[in-house]
Symmetry: C2
Subunit: 167 residues, 2 copies
């Protein structure tokens, strides 16, 4: 698709994040399975539910624009998920692996925060008020998920440090 | 390199962001050249200078850890930069292209904010106080760059909307 107008760029970016959300949905169950810290496992499970809702919201936004929901390959999210998989398969120590899973999950969140931040701003400026509201709900969820992961990262690494001291 | 401890994961993540910064340094001149809005051009130029300082700080952190500065291929940043290049080569309208450049630059910033946020937190918890301070300085710069880009995005898209109304 040729991007000629801001509306084209808006649609292109919607497709990018739609593709990304679908990839995240595929990757999350593996992350839940590998996570050892119970709080992390739970948080990733909850986030999978949220992600399903976020995909639905994107489909509503496509509908508001009279467009069919379609994804566009997003290399950034593929790179982030590839790294998450490497962490999960290569790190043997459970706590270090959890720290790796958290940092990959945060990279995913930040990618989404950035994209949804842009989309909300563009939707408002282009007069897509209802779309802006829907995208804003997702943006809030992603920021919340990132904050929860930051808190959890600290407790996981603290636990690791204490175990190291005790060893 | 096998990641066995939190120190290994810290070093691995340092290598990831070191590689990313070097790629960003390579990509920025092209973005400066293509940007049309004078404020955006200027901002990207200033950020190139900041990025040089950030690379130096990372080299200091490697030195503090008695490690040689080395990068590790980071697919996420390659994906983001690839998208930036697509925006720059494929979008003909100058304002829409600037909006595309800004959103790519923000994706870069968010990737860095996430990585440096993690690195600062890990450095503190692992007792690398001086490294934490250096990485924290960069984190502050990245957050500032992202905020400036957000403001600029709004004025660029507003300008576009006004031109569209006038057309």
């Amino acid at each position: 698709m040729a991007v000629e107008t801001m509306d084209d760029l808006f649609l292109e970016t919607l497709k990018d994040i739609y593709y990304a959300e679908k990839q995240i949905l595929k990757a999350l169950p593996g992350m839940v399975k590998k996570a050892q810290t119970p709080k992390l496992k739970k948080m990733l499970e909850v986030h999978r539910g949220e992600t399903l809702g976020q995909v639905e919201r994107l489909e509503q936004v496509f509908e508001l624009l009279d467009e069919k929901p379609r994804g566009k390959k997003c290399d950034a999210i593929e790179g982030i998920i590839k790294e998450a998989k490497e962490h999960m398969s290569e790190i043997e120590d459970e706590i270090v692996r959890d720290a790796g899973i958290i940092t990959s999950a945060q990279a995913v969140e930040h990618y989404e925060i950035c994209r949804y931040g842009t989309l909300v701003s563009w939707a408002e400026l282009l007069g897509h008020t209802k779309a802006a509201r829907l995208l804003g709900q997702t943006l809030k969820e992603e920021k919340n998920a990132d904050a929860l992961l930051s808190g959890l990262a600290e407790s996981v690494v603290n636990q690791h440090a204490k175990m190291r001291e005790a060893a």
